[in-house]
């Protein structure tokens, strides 16, 4: 993995495996290095092993095999309360019988800090999350967003260098979620802490992360920064999981340097960037983003006939479902510009794409 040997590695998973029942491996050979101050997101569908990884890091689950290091020291045998890792839980886990102030003071009290120091730290962290006036409220008297801020403040108040977040924004509505994403991002940047963030929401991951580890089936499918992940997915799972994607099945008929010639199941032959398609004769899956389709331009490198099946007007763009090479779930996003092509249902029009935008991946 990319940062595996860097000097500034803070958190490191080395060949970590986890099984709950001795039959199924939930996490299969995980290797991941996280740099100090980095914001890494573990992204994946439920049951992909991402939360298990987080729990192992926090110390609530033990690794069946392998080593987890924090600051170069193995923490396998350190109990959770001695790891000094801040954690934000899915449903906040604010203690309902304590006020906001008591909740925030709790980690400081168990560390036996003085009263004045506790008071000062609590006030400072409350200001940081803009909840200064809520110290004597009970968690039940706060809205979801406010509880979220307090949960964040509680993980920050004892100045842990590593903060873990387990789908912390899952219970908020869309607008609040987006706002909190930026706030967490800003707090991360201003404090310079390391954050490991777990989510199944890819847009959240893309917004916040320095790097994203896409999990599936207990394995990291790809670890990269958001742009690389979106632009250059390494396999079919990542291509489909991150953003919207058109897939076309086919067979590799020839290799031409970095490009592959692929005969689609529907008949036509196209050129695509060979990423993960194997040798000539293999089945492959072509992946091309809906916004990279050139419409009505017969001069593009890869031109196919497409018939318009459905048009949905979405304001900033028009979403057009088309039938291409026998597949009628091909999506094209037509920008709502002055120059956009006027389409009608049933109309047949040429579409195409630049060869680099179409990636030949492993067939699933």
């Amino acid at each position: 993995m990319a940062a595996g040997s860097g000097d500034d590695v803070f958190v490191e998973f080395e060949g970590v495996q986890k099984s709950y029942d001795g039959v199924i491996l939930v996490v299969k050979d995980l290797n991941l290095a996280i740099r100090r101050g980095e914001f890494v997101t573990m992204l994946g569908p439920s049951g992909s092993g991402k939360t298990t990884c987080l729990l192992m890091l926090a110390g609530f689950e033990t690794a069946t095999h392998g080593n987890i290091k924090l600051g170069g020291v193995s923490i396998n045998n350190i109990p959770p309360h001695k790891r000094n890792i801040g954690m934000v839980f899915q449903n906040y886990a604010l203690f309902p019988h304590m006020t906001v102030g008591e909740n925030l003071a709790f980690p400081l009290e168990v560390r036996k800090l003085g009263k004045a120091e506790i008071e000062q730290k609590v006030t400072r962290v409350l200001d940081m999350v803009q909840m200064g006036g809520f110290k004597s409220r009970r968690p039940s008297q706060l809205s979801g967003g406010q509880q979220q801020r307090i949960a964040l403040a509680r993980a920050l108040v004892f100045e842990a260098e590593l903060i873990l977040m387990d789908e912390p924004l899952g219970a908020l509505d869309k607008q609040l979620r987006e706002q909190m994403q930026y706030e967490i991002k800003h707090i991360h940047e201003s404090l310079g802490i390391t954050v490991v963030y777990v989510t199944h929401d890819q847009s959240e991951a893309l917004t916040m992360s320095d790097r994203i580890a896409v999990f599936d089936d207990g394995v990291i499918q790809q670890l990269a920064d958001p742009a690389t992940l979106y632009e250059r997915p390494e396999n079919a799972f990542v291509a489909r999981f991150i953003g919207e994607n058109n897939t076309l099945g086919g067979k590799v008929t020839g290799m031409n340097g970095v490009n592959a010639t692929v005969q689609l199941d529907g008949g036509p032959t196209v050129q695509a960037l060979a990423v993960n398609c194997g040798a000539v004769g293999n089945r492959t899956m072509l992946s091309v983003r809906p916004e990279r389709i050139l419409i009505g331009d017969a001069s593009a490198p890869n031109v196919l006939e497409a018939r318009v099946v459905e048009l949905i007007y979405l304001g900033d763009h028009i979403r057009c479902r088309m039938e291409v090479a026998g597949d009628d779930s091909f999506i094209v996003k037509v920008p709502n510009s002055h120059a956009h092509a006027a389409l009608n249902i049933g109309e047949v029009t040429p579409i195409g794409w630049v060869t680099e935008d179409c990636r030949a991946l492993d067939a699933v």
């Binding site: 839980f89 886990a93 019988h97």
Partner: protein
């Protein structure tokens, strides 16, 4: 168009006031709702509220004497209870006695007076037989028939019995005596039993509640935190006894705990009884009081032969004597034979409190039996509310506490435990209130010192037939429970209680 929004009451479109219209609209549904609960309401009134009220009234109202002896009642109530009973009262009494004997109600009236002054029942019945032939002066005739008629305290007792609305029973329930002259004094000491009984009832209930909590808390925690399959199995184990008849469970404890019962056999077999015995004796005055060995030989010897054994014991060297022997010898030389034998008797009684003499423990037909059986029977009432509260505490709280740096204990004590308090409150209230009125179990396994106030109420209901005193005892119990409930509300808050 009416301006309904700015002035006057709101009206509907046709001009009726909105409130009246709303009430009309609600009336039908209210009537229907009432109709649905009416049968239950009637049932509860008929078999619960009315009988209990009637019975409670008996606690301070008993018109037996007034009903059967009306003439004397009138004069007795006018009498101040201090001055000499008058000839007029005696005449009315004789007239009442004649009438009551003819009506065959003299026994009931006599029984009522006997509750106030024992021995007066026979006085009444005997005098009644002679009453028809009595002539003035009646006071002298009454005294001639039975000398007790000459005692002013007898007349005072009759005055108390004649007072239908009386605090006498409630006072009796608190070991106080209400006298004919209106004064209230303590009951003579050997008849003061109720307060002791109330205190013992409270003590037993408290110990049972604490034991249920100590045993139930971990079980409830397991129920709430084990895997579903195991938890279900455990739940069945909790509920199975709960569904079994209380009589069966109580008698099962007799088989378990009796002298030759399962527990004693196992302890005797394993030698555990010796260990426990030694451990218990550590904390007592007689450090080497071994019940079937040296010490009890000395004690039994003294009890059997008296002086002879004491002489032998005195002759022994001081360091060869057991503590018991040394003590008996000391008392023998200081205060003589009688005191030494009395001490031997006390030591024997002490020994018997701990076992049978063959080093078996008496765990049934005493307070221990009551405590064990009641704890077992009431345990589910603690476990279930605790479980239902614990079930709602997400495990994330404990994790959060640990991630914030709390040790397992701190996480439990500062985060988990405070959240179980509503369950603890509900469970404890339930167990305590059930325990304070417990009857069958103490009756079956309580022996002498394991009896509770309910057993006494039962005694007055079925044996002595003093229903008024039973009602008063029940009333005091009810007041205690309500006071504790009020106290709980003040300290913890009833809203804080959660049954599930």
């Amino acid at each position: 168009m009416t301006d309904a929004t700015s002035k006057g009451p709101l009206t509907t479109a046709d001009g009726t006031p909105l409130k009246r219209k709303l009430e009309q609209a609600m009336f039908a549904s209210r009537l229907r709702a009432f109709g649905l609960v009416a049968p239950l309401l009637a049932f509860i009134l008929a078999v619960f509220v009315v009988p209990i009220t009637v019975f409670m009234v008996r606690g301070f109202h008993n018109p037996t004497y007034e009903t059967y002896m009306p003439k004397s009642t009138e004069l007795l109530l006018e009498w101040d209870g201090v001055s000499e009973p008058t000839e007029e009262m005696a005449a009315a009494m004789v007239a009442d006695l004649i009438q009551a004997r003819a009506d065959k109600t003299i026994g009931r009236a006599a029984t009522r007076v006997n509750q106030e002054y024992s021995g007066t029942r026979s006085m009444f019945t005997r005098t009644a037989r002679k009453a028809a032939k009595m002539e003035a002066p009646f006071m002298a005739a009454l005294v001639k028939a039975h000398k007790n008629w000459g005692k002013p305290e007898v007349w005072q007792a009759i005055k108390v019995a004649a007072t239908s609305w009386t605090p006498a029973y409630f006072l009796a329930a608190l070991d106080l005596k209400y006298k004919g002259d209106g004064s209230v004094v303590w009951q003579v000491e050997e008849r003061q039993i109720h307060i002791t009984l109330f205190l013992r009832t409270m003590e037993i209930s408290l110990i049972v509640t604490l034991s249920c909590f100590a045993l139930g808390f971990p079980v409830a925690w397991l129920l709430a935190n084990l895997k579903v399959r195991t938890a279900n199995l455990l739940m069945i184990l909790v509920l199975l006894p709960f569904w079994t008849s209380i009589l069966v469970r109580t008698t099962a404890w007799i088989a378990m705990l009796q002298g030759q019962g399962v527990v004693n056999d196992l302890m005797a077999f394993s030698g555990l009884n010796q260990v426990i015995l030694q451990f218990m004796l550590l904390f007592r005055d007689y450090g080497d009081l071994k019940l079937a060995s040296l010490c009890s030989n000395d004690v039994n010897g003294v009890l059997a032969t008296g002086e002879a054994t004491l002489q032998t014991l005195s002759a022994q060297a001081a360091d060869a004597q057991t503590t018991c022997a040394a003590e008996m010898v000391r008392i023998y030389s200081a205060s003589g034979l009688e005191a030494a034998v009395a001490q031997a008797g006390a030591l024997k009684a002490e020994a018997l409190r701990w076992g049978y003499g063959d080093e078996r423990f008496s765990m049934i037909y005493n307070k221990t039996g009551t405590l064990v059986a009641m704890t077992h029977i009431l345990l589910p009432f603690m476990i279930l509310p605790l479980y239902s509260v614990m079930k709602t505490i997400p495990p994330a709280y404990l994790r959060a506490a640990k991630s914030l740096g709390a040790t397992n204990w701190t996480a439990f004590w500062r985060v988990y435990f405070p959240q179980t308090v509503p369950g603890i409150g509900a469970g404890s209230m339930l167990v305590f209130i059930l325990a304070i009125g417990y009857y069958i179990t103490p009756a079956l396994v309580g022996g002498q010192d394991g009896q509770m106030i309910s057993n006494f109420i039962d005694f007055h209901m079925r044996k002595s037939l003093n229903w008024s005193l039973a009602a008063a005892l029940g009333g005091v119990l009810l007041i205690i429970v309500m006071f504790l409930y009020w106290l709980y509300d003040r300290v913890v808050g009833i809203d804080n209680m959660k049954f599930g």
